[in-house]
């Protein structure tokens, strides 16, 4: 049995090897193949793109990925549900809290629980902070790629304020794992909301400063307007989502269409573009950051009192103070961190709006304390499929602008 299995594997593997590589006619003088990456600074990680060129015009762009594949989906099958949350941070590492939330909401759907209002509100606030932080990273690196260095510093000043707040709450800047099944790992510390208010007050001015640098900048507009156009109809079949879809004029946001975590209670707009080019994607993301700030403001103003976690000791560990007095609490704590909880047999998927598009975890539970299969719907991975279509017929320099505009994070593409 084992022999046949392995022989079959090798056979399939070698067939795949034969299919690998670019099939081009060496005698054809018309096209030339240029390798871009995997260490190219503008590829946002370790992405390799094989460009087939006719002069300087791109005939085809084939992305090759997998250089930072870490087998997170396989590893999730071996970790209890609570421990798995920490792995999800490492997928899309600039919006870690939204990954936490995606994994957590899927588990909570399996369990059939929902955190109390304060937990929901804190989650929304953290997710929106993370969305702004992710867009600011995109803004800084995208502009760095196409030759504007100043914006990077302007964007990262604001991002630091958000990361400081995340650090204040969780002790970690980028990988907080703070949203867990049942609620959050902890409540907001003293003075946290005041920091949030300060950020909200200063943020529109910072955006104005950046927009004053870019919106009417002739060099920036030359590089971005009319570049990387993808019509709305093509976005659908390709599974392209998020700001890239909204820049095509489609007013669609999962926070409005399928509200989760109480997003239906907040008022915000869905910014859309018109021409579906790199410039419109920039404008949509800038407007989205201001909308996220509106949501953060509403969260701070209407933050409910009360518990942040569900009152179920089988899912959420008891508070530290209880452990000193109660034997039950010690037992629950021990059982939760060693064995974990057992969701019912079933499969669940909850879509969320990540800064890049639709994110969600498809979790198959077999009733044990570990997921039988946990798969992330990777927004960057799906958006990357549109790269070739966006670059066709454009110049090499436009590839850099297009890669930046679809906001890819290789940690998520490769998982």
């Amino acid at each position: 049995m084992a022999n046949i299995e392995i022989e079959r594997l090798i056979e399939q593997s070698s067939a795949a090897t034969a299919a690998q590589g670019i099939q081009i006619d060496a005698l054809d003088a018309q096209t030339m193949v240029v390798n871009m990456g995997p260490q190219h600074p503008s590829t946002h990680g370790v992405l390799r793109i094989v460009l087939e060129l006719d002069g300087e015009v791109i005939v085809r762009a084939t992305p090759h990925m997998g250089y930072v594949h870490t087998g997170i989906e396989k590893e999730l099958e071996y970790q209890t549900y609570l421990k798995g949350v920490t792995l999800t941070d490492r997928m899309d590492y600039v919006s870690a809290l939204i990954n936490n939330a995606a994994y957590t909401l899927s588990i909570e759907k399996l369990l059939g629980i929902e955190p109390p209002p304060r937990g929901q509100c804190l989650r929304v606030m953290l997710m929106e902070m993370q969305r702004i932080a992710s867009h600011l990273v995109w803004l800084g690196t995208h502009l760095l790629d196409i030759g504007a260095m100043t914006v990077f510093f302007y964007a990262f000043v604001q991002r630091e304020k958000l990361l400081d707040m995340v650090e204040m709450m969780s002790g970690v800047r980028m990988m907080p794992s703070w949203i867990v099944p049942g609620g959050l790992r902890g409540d907001a510390p003293e003075g946290w909301f005041e920091r949030g208010k300060d950020f909200c007050d200063g943020f529109p001015r910072a955006i104005d400063e950046i927009e004053a640098l870019l919106n009417a900048n002739p060099i920036f507009r030359e590089r971005t307007q009319g570049v990387g156009i993808l019509p709305a109809e093509e976005c659908f079949g390709l599974g392209v989502g998020g700001p890239t879809l909204r820049a095509a004029g489609i007013s669609y946001d999962i926070r409005k269409a399928i509200p989760y975590s109480g997003y239906e209670n907040y008022s915000f707009e869905i910014p859309t573009g018109q021409y579906s080019d790199v410039y419109d994607r920039y404008r949509v993301r800038m407007a989205e950051m201001l909308q996220s700030r509106e949501i953060i403001k509403q969260c701070i103003e209407n933050m409910p009192d009360g518990p942040i976690n569900v009152d179920d000791r089988k899912i959420v560990p008891p508070p530290r103070i209880e452990m000193d007095n109660s034997m039950e609490a010690v037992i629950h704590h021990f059982k939760l961190w060693t064995e974990g909880f057992h969701p019912p047999v079933g499969e669940s998927y909850v879509p969320l709006e990540s800064p890049k598009g639709e994110i969600g975890f498809y979790i198959v539970s077999d009733g044990s304390n570990r997921p039988w299969r946990a798969h992330q719907r990777p927004p960057c991975f799906m958006n990357l499929q549109a790269l070739s279509r966006m670059c066709e017929g454009r110049l090499i320099a436009d590839v850099v602008a297009v890669i930046g505009s679809i906001d890819i994070i290789l940690g998520e593409i490769d998982r």
């Binding site: 084992a2 690998q20 059939g112 079949g237 599974g239 392209v240 004029g249 299969r373 719907r377």
Partner: protein, 212 residues
């Protein structure tokens, strides 16, 4: 504070329109319909998957215009007559374009049953171009081949990798990282060292050793 967000129902609830339509167009395609926490999953024969996807996309009452993703699941021996399932996550995205409303804001999961001895599924790239990368990932991770895929090769693992790592019987464990000084390895053309470690059943040992 534990509140039920969605009821757990079985198929006794009202049948969804998708099921009715698929049953009308492909009478023997549906193997099973499962509803859990409000999501409907339809298990179908893999031969019909392209036709079903085309129906779901083109029928104006269904209008599944958005391809969310597809993924593979290895059920090993927990299912009686097939080992793998390919899950197509389709969504009818609501939007307004030029004053016309499209989409129903509904989601459906179509599952194709794939037996172990013949892991081939027709590719849906012709219906949804976005299936290209996910199908390559399923091929890479599960060894399920997609007939008709224009460019079916590994996507995440290196091209000379042995085996399909997301299969449940593929061992998990540390890779033997060696620095052989360019004497062997993928760059020299030799066969790479397979993984050694723990399998799903807690078996430890050398993967290569299981060959004999």
């Amino acid at each position: 504070m534990t509140t039920e967000i969605l009821e757990t129902t079985n198929s006794d609830a009202a049948e969804r329109i998708e099921v009715t339509k698929i049953r009308a167009a492909f009478p023997d395609a549906i193997l099973d319909v499962n509803t859990f926490r409000g999501d409907t999953r339809i298990l179908v024969r893999r031969e019909q998957i392209v036709g079903i996807c085309a129906l779901l996309k083109q029928d104006l009452d269904l209008n599944y215009n958005y391809f969310v993703e597809c993924l593979g699941v290895d059920y090993l021996d927990t299912k009686p007559d097939h080992r793998f399932e390919v899950v197509y996550n389709l969504y009818s995205l609501p939007y307004t374009l030029n004053g016309v409303r499209h989409g129903k804001n509904t989601r459906i999961f179509i599952k194709a049953a794939v037996p172990e001895d013949d892991p081939v599924v027709p590719s849906v790239v012709s219906i949804y171009p976005g299936a290209s990368f996910p199908e390559r990932e399923i091929f890479d991770m599960f060894g399920i081949r997609f007939a008709g895929h224009p460019d079916l090769r590994r996507i995440l693992m290196s091209e000379d990798w042995i085996g399909h790592p997301q299969r449940k019987d593929y061992p998990l464990g540390g890779e033997k990282v060696r620095f052989p000084g360019n004497k062997y390895g993928p760059s020299v053309g030799d066969v790479p060292i397979a993984h050694a470690g723990e399998s799903y059943f807690g078996k430890t040992g050398d993967f290569q050793g299981e060959k004999s």
